[in-house]
């Protein structure tokens, strides 16, 4: 599938920038994201192609902005939900996870008027729609 990841021959990205004595990982979280991806891959619920396909589904602007392991993490979260290892609600309601619905400085637009689920007979449907929006559209 063509996409932003298919970079061969594309002009405009500038010179190759190298880092002398580059470490294997650049941050603690990169190590953990890498190891979590391999450890969950060991359950063999997906193969390399499936994992790559998810990384390639990142919205193009986000893909270009993201660092390598940010793409891995983005894909891993979605793989875990898709394969039923975790529910989206579990990912999203961890107390140690930032609440993405909270309006924060610099992020004032676009988050305040999302449906929140609420009560009532169709609450589940609305909540699912919200979760779908959060995982596929954020």
């Amino acid at each position: 599938m063509n996409g932003v990841h298919d970079m061969g021959g594309r002009p405009g990205f500038g010179p190759v920038v190298r880092e002398e004595n580059e470490p294997v990982f650049h941050a603690k979280w990169e190590r953990r994201a890498f190891a979590l991806t391999l450890a969950m891959g060991a359950w063999r619920r997906w193969n390399l192609d499936v994992a790559r396909a998810w990384r390639e589904r990142m919205p193009p602007a986000d893909y270009l902005r993201a660092s390598y392991y940010e793409r891995w993490l983005w894909a891993l979260e979605r793989l875990l939900v898709e394969k039923g290892f975790v529910m989206l609600a579990e990912l999203d309601r961890r107390p140690d996870r930032p609440d993405r619905r909270r309006v924060r400085p610099g992020r004032v637009g676009g988050r305040v008027d999302q449906p929140t689920g609420g009560e009532g007979p169709d609450a589940g449907i609305r909540r699912n729609a919200t979760l779908y929006h959060m995982i596929y559209c954020t």
Binding site: A39, L80, E90
Partner: protein, 224 residues
């Protein structure tokens, strides 16, 4: 590549006693939340995660590939097997595993220079080179290696004469390449260990040539 938050080894995620009180970034929080969730569910074992990290930080890396190259230089029979069936020959040396299931070795000669890229992502022969450097995974390298390989090589300090043919190999998830660089002059008396010390990661990707030792006779002598 944006988004690298350089922690300079502070590692405050795993060191609560550390006086560093900087708030964690969103990506740090997401990873921490994910790890604790998966651990609680019994899906991952943090000790196994540590082992995976340690493996790729300290055990699997370009020193493995350098040993393969050095053996190919020192042992023509091994080199023949390496060119013929790289996966098996490399496995003989014990370098097997993830992302090295199907290997091809590309021999550089005085008239052919090979360059390896993965335009789609980051495919790379992990068992012999470890995890790829950031530049290999970056948009500039992935886009330009196939369009302007000589320009890219110049940025790496490699100037090739006009008559040298440049062959660019685009890796896939199934097939990964290792460049067998040319053995430099002045290394005639060296053993495999001394030879391996000359071989760099970039030479095995094709973005460098192996440099001749500065004082070949003296170094070979000193190592005895």
């Amino acid at each position: 590549m944006s988004g690298h938050d350089h922690e300079h080894g502070h590692g405050h995620l795993d060191d609560p006693a550390h006086p560093h009180n900087a708030p964690l970034s969103e990506v740090q929080l997401r990873v921490r939340a994910l790890e604790s969730l998966l651990t609680e569910k019994g899906l991952v074992d943090p000790a196994a995660l540590n082992e995976l990290i340690d493996t790729y930080e300290t055990k699997v890396g370009p020193r493995n590939g350098a040993k393969v190259v050095a053996r190919a230089w020192a042992d023509p029979e091994f080199k023949r097997r390496l060119i013929e069936n790289a996966t098996e020959a490399i496995a003989e040396m014990g370098f097997i595993g993830r992302q090295g299931e199907d290997m091809v070795v590309l021999e550089n000669t005085p008239t052919v220079h090979n360059l390896v890229v993965c335009t789609l992502c980051s495919c790379y022969p992990w068992p012999v080179l470890g995890l790829p450097p950031v530049w290999y995974k970056s948009a500039p390298y992935r886009s330009r290696a196939v369009r302007d390989p000589r320009g890219v090589l110049q940025e790496f300090g490699v100037e090739l004469p006009e008559h040298v043919e440049v062959r660019v190999w685009d890796s896939t998830a199934e097939l990964r390449y290792l460049v067998l660089p040319e053995r430099p002059p002045g290394t005639e008396g060296m053993d495999e260990e001394e030879l391996a010390a000359l071989v760099t990661r970039d030479a095995m990707i094709g973005t460098a040539k192996v440099q001749a030792p500065e004082r070949p006779a003296a170094r070979a002598e000193a190592a005895r």
